[in-house]
């Protein structure tokens, strides 16, 4: 379990750095808010559908 907690710690740091930096990176290379919002919107759609899919898979596992 300790190894999993180490994983959580390091991967969460990586993801939160990503969340802080990515939009600023896009701005830095010349993209405006409209484009940044399109990227975020697509990421959310990906989250919605893959999240639902994994949720369904999770239910299948839970009941066995």
């Amino acid at each position: 379990m300790r190894n999993l907690l180490y994983y959580t710690f390091f991967s969460s740091i990586a993801q939160s750095i990503y969340r802080i930096v990515f939009n600023l990176f896009l701005r830095d290379i010349g993209f405006n808010n409209t484009f940044i919002s399109h990227i975020t919107s697509l990421e959310m759609i990906g989250s919605a559908f893959l999240g639902l899919l994994i949720g369904i898979m999770g239910i299948s596992l839970e009941r066995n």
């Binding site: 969460s12 740091i13 990586a14 990503y18 919002s37 919107s41 990906g46 999240g51």
Partner: protein, 331 residues
């Protein structure tokens, strides 16, 4: 699956740094969003898999605490890295860190005895609810959409907002968002205690009321320090009410339907955030766009506040609800 999703995330990050064209960024966005979300769901499943009833609560607590703490550290490091090494290098470090974190997963022993036999129609069967449960689920899902939309208008763009409104340096943006994250963590920690002290309904309703003037104030306040403070307060208030209302709602849903409802809830939440994210781009391109953005967000929070009253109305005197946040003698 966790390792695969981590490798995909890192690969996409490296591709985006190396070839930051419109096409590359758009094509990878859909997959990247899925990968980022799947990590949390898969991680929770893995914890269930390698723990038992006795120690599960403890390890979920540790995991949540680490998640919150590392989020705070990541915000601080992210801004500083962006400032001193450049955003591309900061993203490169992100990808490498994510990849290296998998080393720990190789040592985790997973229980692989599960196999899947449940039919899809069983999962999507929502006919087994009584009137009260239907009422709660219906309002819960509508509120999820409204709050998801209201939050999605600005929550995912905190870094851009601080840059646009105050021209903050990345290091300071990191500090400001870490401050908000700290508020969110404190909110989560104290939510249960405060609910017992003041009553779950009164506490949740009051916090939801407070959030609205805070969001309205974002459209007026243009002092970076006061704005950051208000921004952090909004995060803590929302994180104080979310665990309480989720616990109450889940207590009324049959055990075998909790994951189904949670999955639908997540789906609606992300769809609302996706639509709101699109709106962010259009609204902020207007003059005074940010003022409009926060006012529109506040309207969505206000409607969800009204629905909160409707949600609680039939359960206020119900035994399950009263037992959940019963005052203890020490309180």
């Amino acid at each position: 699956m966790l390792i695969i999703s981590s490798v995909i995330f890192a690969t996409i990050t490296f591709l985006r740094i190396s070839f930051p064209t419109e096409q590359m960024l758009l094509y990878t966005a859909l997959i990247n969003g899925g990968v980022l979300t799947s990590r949390m769901i898969l991680l929770n499943s893995l914890i269930v898999d390698i723990t038992n009833h006795e120690n599960r609560g403890k390890y979920f607590g540790y995991n949540f605490g680490l998640f919150m703490g590392s989020g705070l550290i990541g915000n601080l490091i992210g801004g500083t890295l962006g400032d001193f090494l450049g955003f591309g290098t900061a993203l490169l470090i992100t990808g490498i860190t994510h990849l290296l974190s998998n080393t720990f997963l190789f040592i985790v022993h997973e229980d692989k005895k599960h196999h899947s036999e449940v039919l899809l129609k069983d999962i999507f069967n929502l006919r087994d609810f009584n009137n009260l449960q239907t009422h709660i689920i219906k309002i819960h899902l509508i509120r999820t959409f409204l709050i998801g939309f209201g939050a999605g208008l600005f929550v995912n763009f905190g870094n851009v907002i601080f840059k646009d409104l105050f021209n903050m340096k990345p290091t300071i943006i990191g500090v400001a968002l870490a401050f908000a994250q700290l508020g969110a963590s404190l909110g989560s920690i104290f939510s249960s205690k405060l609910s017992k002290k003041f009553g779950a309904y009164q506490f949740t309703f009051f916090m939801n009321i407070l959030v609205i003037p805070l969001i309205i104030s974002f459209s007026i306040v243009r002092d970076p320090y006061i704005f950051t403070l208000l921004y952090a307060l909004r995060f803590s208030f929302m994180n104080m009410t979310n665990p309480v209302s989720t616990t109450i709602i889940m207590s009324y849903i049959p055990q075998n339907k909790i994951t189904t409802i949670s999955s639908f809830r997540n789906f609606l939440n992300f769809i609302a955030r996706s639509l709101a994210a699109l709106m962010f781009g259009y609204i902020t391109s207007l003059s005074n766009g940010y003022s409009y953005l926060f006012l529109i967000s506040a309207i969505f929070y206000f409607i969800s506040l009204l629905l909160l009253k409707v949600l609680f109305k039939p359960i206020l005197n119900d035994e399950i609800f009263i037992k959940l946040y019963k005052k203890t003698t020490n309180d």
